[in-house]
Symmetry: C2
Subunit: 141 residues, 2 copies
DNA sequence: ATCACTGCAAAGGGTTTGCAAGTTC
DNA sequence: GAACTTGCAAACCCTTTGCAGTGAT
């Protein structure tokens, strides 16, 4: 329950924050513009500045996880532990990969004598849809 | 030889590009501000706008590889094939990890039915120096 | 000589910030 | 009622762009 989640982090339950969490949970991965659009579609007007603040707060307390991409907007997802992602270079779609991170982390850590808190793994390629319909022009998904 | 490298990509050999490559090769990983500083230190004045252009060009032809970080400036390195990185969350230092990517890639790809071109792996933690001298305030390195 | 590149300055665009008004607990 | 949050607008800052002058081949 998002109400509990916010309270547990000492954040107040505002309609804006609850809506943000609801949308992000529904969409899985989302960037700020898509989130902004979803707010509008659901009839709730919100300034971008407020969205930036909400996303920043929720990320800093660990409710959200951010996926930083080069030349694409940062994506946000509900934080649910490390997992690899697949990024389609053509449509920009981001997907969770369901693979045992343990194995990967173990291997990676062997190369690294430092204490490691987290591991980001991103595969880059072409997604199912884009390889099936290669003529489809580049479009955000 | 950087001269050959540039020519092979159809780029002209300018002192600015050669200097950029020299510095980046020396430093291993560098962001644009550090690069700018290094230019100044070596007595070559260059506008940031030109550096942005050079880094963009060298990256787009594949001479440089960019490492995009959240809340830190993009780092540039001479492109030498995929390898995992370690990022110190405290000092921001980026290090190459020398580990067989193959194993990791194989595992990761098993979770992914799509055609994968490249894999980015980033470990986040605290580096040797920062854990040895934990009182040292956060500083860029 | 030609075409590419640099330098400069200005524009652009995403993100952050200050402050007053409005909410939550 | 106190503290936090939102909304708005302006400020910020990094990055890109246009164009004239310069340089590489």
């Amino acid at each position: 329950m998002h109400v509990q989640l916010l309270k547990s982090k000492g954040l107040k339950c505002t309609p804006q924050r609850l809506m943000a969490l609801k949308i992000i949970e529904e969409k899985g991965h989302i960037d700020i513009d898509q989130l902004f659009e979803n707010f509008n579609n659901s009839g709730m007007k919100i300034p971008l500045a407020t969205l930036y603040r909400i996303l920043g707060e929720l990320s800093s307390v660990g409710i959200l996880h951010t996926v930083t991409l080069s030349s694409q907007k940062t994506r946000y997802e509900i934080a649910k532990g490390d997992h690899p992602h697949f990024l389609c270079e053509q449509c920009g779609q981001l997907e969770d990969l369901h693979v045992a991170m343990n194995e990967i982390v173990t291997i990676a850590k062997h190369a690294c004598s430092y204490s490691t808190h987290s591991v980001s793994i991103m595969l880059h390629g072409i997604c199912q849809n884009c390889s099936t319909f290669p003529t489809t022009d580049k479009e955000e998904g």
